[in-house]
Symmetry: C2
Subunit: 100 residues, 2 copies
Amino acid sequence: MTRLTLEQASEQLAELGHPTRLSLYRILVKAGNRGMPVADIQQQLDVPGSTLSHHISRLLKVGLVVQVREGRVLRCHAQYERLNLLIQFLMEECCADERC
Amino acid sequence: MTRLTLEQASEQLAELGHPTRLSLYRILVKAGNRGMPVADIQQQLDVPGSTLSHHISRLLKVGLVVQVREGRVLRCHAQYERLNLLIQFLMEECCADERC
DNA sequence: AAGATATTTCTAGAATAATGGAAATATTAT
DNA sequence: ATAATATTTCCATTATTCTAGAAATATCTT
């Protein structure tokens, strides 16, 4: 994928637009390529499992996060590429006019 | 202001996370420094006035848009600085780990 | 002052999202 | 097979957001 549609971009923005999810996403960004198991995220965020799971699944749905199973642990990874596309989308046309 | 809090960032992201508002915001970004009157935006977006006003006020609330009255016209302007802060926030720590 | 224009505020109904406990599923260990 | 662990799915409740008509406000024109 090389470019987001308005729909895709607004969906992703909406998912990042929740404090718990934004925090979760940043934890994963910070965790880098090794990612992080759900349990570790939960420890950092201090929310009930079902709530956390709900938020993770929303980030999964829009492709900002990916999960890989490792035994009984599910490891989550931030999808940097998606964030880059989103930022690209936000900056598009930003200089169609004058200085920016 | 030089840095957003998580709360501020998530509020702004939530407001951009709606297709009509994202579209509206991009129209203003594209319009550049001269901005655009509400009526002109309405013509481009084709939504009822009260709906448009609601969306504009949400963007105003988080500082992504600013309005200046010119007679009976209200001219809207995108606040690029805010978007830059937001993008900065999203990219923070992005390379705390390895390649990015 | 009255009328026209631009836009907002009020209001209410419909839709969507957030939260978290309890039950279900998947995997590993004994 | 049973138990233990990790996580999700189900469910119901509460809260928030969306939408748009109608009324209100602000400004300009005559």
